[in-house]
């Protein structure tokens, strides 16, 4: 799987290259600025891009803007955005086109190599990888005045959180140490309680949940 990586700090870029290579990814390019990233995304046609939000030369949200532009040029181009801080505002912009293949994670998540690599693979496969912090912020905003969310059992809430992060039933089952069938039952309950259309497609399911949580904001 070919990856384009954009990160301006040498130590982090180097670390990420080694981490990804150790997990059998092929690094098509590892760049350090916005213009280089735009060029690499246009020319190298990677399977997935891992991009830092803040890049030179402007040191603003150059990386995010490049990623969004690349997705406009090539709808569905899988992009995983990394940042020192997460903002719902950015998450919403990444999810706005409804195409999936989007990730938005704190840089700290790299500490857990297995989960991080799992996230990259998920995004590359057209899935979603949202940072737990984004989901918690969304949930805590909705929880206060949201009746359907209030009807979820604590276990169902836990499952909802993991599902919103983009995890598959199998992964959720693994994390909560229960069977996949139990998780399937929870998810169908959740969809009934939130009045969402049930879908067999994992990616559609995640996007529906995220859209529900971000509703009216």
């Amino acid at each position: 799987m070919r990856v384009v990586l954009a990160e301006d700090l040498f130590l982090l870029r180097d670390g990420l290259v080694r981490l990804l290579e150790a997990h059998d990814f092929e690094i098509a390019a590892a760049v350090e600025s916005g213009p280089e990233l735009a060029q690499a995304l246009a020319e190298l046609e990677p399977d997935v891009a891992v991009v830092d939000v803040r890049l030179p030369p402007t040191h603003t949200d150059e990386g995010l803007q490049c990623a969004l532009q690349a997705r406009r040029d090539r709808p569905g181009l899988p992009v995983l955005v990394l940042s020192q801080h997460v903002e719902q505002l950015y998450a919403r912009e990444l999810l706005a086109d409804g195409n999936g293949g989007v990730g938005y994670l704190l840089k700290d998540r790299v500490f857990d190599a297995e989960q991080f690599v799992d996230g990259v693979r998920r995004v590359a496969a057209g899935g979603t990888a949202m940072d737990p912090q984004v989901i918690q912020q969304l949930l805590s905003r909705r929880a206060a005045d949201d009746r359907p969310l209030g009807r979820l059992t604590p276990r169902e809430r836990e499952v909802l959180e993991l599902m919103a992060q983009g995890r598959s039933n199998a992964a959720i089952a693994g994390q909560l140490v229960v069977t996949e069938r139990a998780i399937a039952k929870h998810t169908s309950n959740i969809f009934t309680k939130l009045d969402l259309e049930v879908s067999d497609d994992d990616n559609r399911r995640v996007l529906a949940v995220l859209a529900y949580l971000d509703q009216g904001r």
Partner: protein, 426 residues
């Protein structure tokens, strides 16, 4: 030796007198037509503002008036050492004529200029001419007495001041009067020119009271700014010391222990490794919160509008944000505005009991430009500046940027907090 020095000082004085008389003459020559022209053009131009033409011409004319006044300020300083303070408000260069016209018309200095033009074409003209007259008229008296009277008094006596000159004795009398003028001129000409510029300063100089008030406000807001930033630095130091720094120390210790345990007790080492990793996650979390408190990353990345949107997304209340900003303000202004909005929102969430908040940000182009922010909630009202509400702190912070805060919060609500900060967008 002694006489030599005396004649030296005499000639220096004579040169000073002649110079003052010449300068007075030039001034009088330029002052009258200049002042009349400037005044008339200004009146006509301002009168034409309602039909539109004045909007285009007024900035040009008033800029001319200012140049004329500034030229006089320069002369006053160069010729007589009279310093006339100038206090025009800056006129935005790229602004449209409408903004420029009204910005200039709202400046009290413009009206002071026009008042001065009236004085300048009358009393100013006379006081500039007086030193010249004293000297030239005295010289004329001598020329008349020396024989010119024979030519001049052909058709009757030639009046020199109050002396009818028609014979040698009256000519001598005229010479005596001229001598008196010369003595007066010799003694007072330079002082008279100074008096002219003092008159100019009295009318044209910025009001001392205004300046004193401005100095008072600046002193106060500067003290507040220094106090606030010192307190902020102390808070940051404490947070780093007790937070991230302590966690890194703990992490280092854990790593040391792990190194020791690696062979003896791998299970224990693994447990400590997990602990060290958690420490690093916690330290990062604390640093992240600290950074957000110093300068929020979204503010740096996206500017004020999106930073406030992101802030609203973190609130537990439904918040509507409306932004109309055509560019970015300077970083310190953005930061002050962001933290002001943040504080007002926190207040609303904590105390108002509201279930909806509206935030409106826009830039008005009045004068030099103004950032106007309003935060409205549908809560129970009763908010006031200084009632321990945190709004007093916001007011103080905004003061550093000449910003103001107004609260409208009748009992029963709604509460509306309006903030204005003068600034330009780029």
């Amino acid at each position: 030796m002694n006489t030599n020095t005396k004649s030296d000082s005499l000639s220096t004085r004579a040169r000073a007198v002649a110079l003052a008389a010449g300068r007075g003459f030039v001034l009088a020559l330029v002052t009258l037509p200049g002042a009349v022209l400037c005044f008339t053009l200004s009146l006509v131009s301002i009168a034409l503002v309602p039909i539109g033409i004045g909007v285009v011409t007024t900035p040009w004319v008033l800029t001319g008036v200012r140049a004329f006044a500034d030229w006089r300020r320069v002369l006053a300083a160069q010729w007589c050492g009279v310093r006339i303070p100038s206090a025009y408000r800056p006129v935005p260069e790229g602004a449209n004529p409408w903004t420029r016209t009204f910005g200039m018309l709202r400046d009290p200095a413009t009206w002071r200029d026009l008042r001065w033009l009236l004085v300048d074409m009358t009393a100013g003209f006379a006081s500039a001419l007086l030193p010249a007259i004293l000297v030239f008229y005295a010289l004329e008296g001598f020329v008349v007495a020396a024989g010119l009277w024979r030519v001049m008094s052909d058709g009757g006596p030639y009046w020199y001041a109050f002396v009818p000159v028609d014979s040698q004795p009256t000519a001598l009398a005229a010479a005596a009067v001229a001598a008196v003028y010369l003595v007066l001129g010799y003694r007072y000409t330079p002082a008279l020119l100074v008096a002219h510029f003092r008159l100019t300063r009295a009318v044209l100089g910025a009001n001392q009271g205004e300046l004193a008030e401005r100095v008072r406000v600046l002193t106060e807001t500067r003290r507040d700014a220094v106090d606030t930033s010192a307190a902020e630095l102390r808070r940051i130091e404490r947070d780093l010391h007790d937070g991230a720094q302590a966690r890194l120390v703990a992490m280092g210790m854990d790593l040391g222990t792990i190194e020791m345990l690696l062979d003896k007790d791998p299970a224990k080492a693994r447990q400590l490794l997990a602990q060290a990793r958690q420490s690093s996650v916690d330290a990062l979390g604390e640093l992240r919160d600290l950074v957000r408190g110093i300068h929020p990353p979204v503010l740096a990345e996206r500017g004020l509008g999106d930073a406030v949107r992101a802030l609203a997304l973190r609130l537990p209340l439904a918040t509507e944000v409306n932004v109309e900003l055509g560019g970015r303000a300077e970083a310190p202004v953005e930061s002050a505005a962001y933290f002001a909005v943040s504080e007002v929102l926190t207040n609303a969430v904590k105390h108002s009991g509201a279930d909806r908040i509206w935030v409106d940000l826009h830039h008005v182009k009045e004068g030099a430009g103004m950032l106007r922010i309003s935060v409205t909630d549908n809560g129970k009202g009763g908010a006031a500046v200084g009632a321990g509400s945190g709004l007093a702190g916001v007011e103080r912070r905004l003061g550093t940027f000449d910003g103001v805060l107004a609260v409208s919060s009748p009992a029963g609500g709604p509460t509306m907090v309006t903030m204005e900060i003068p600034c330009e967008l780029s």
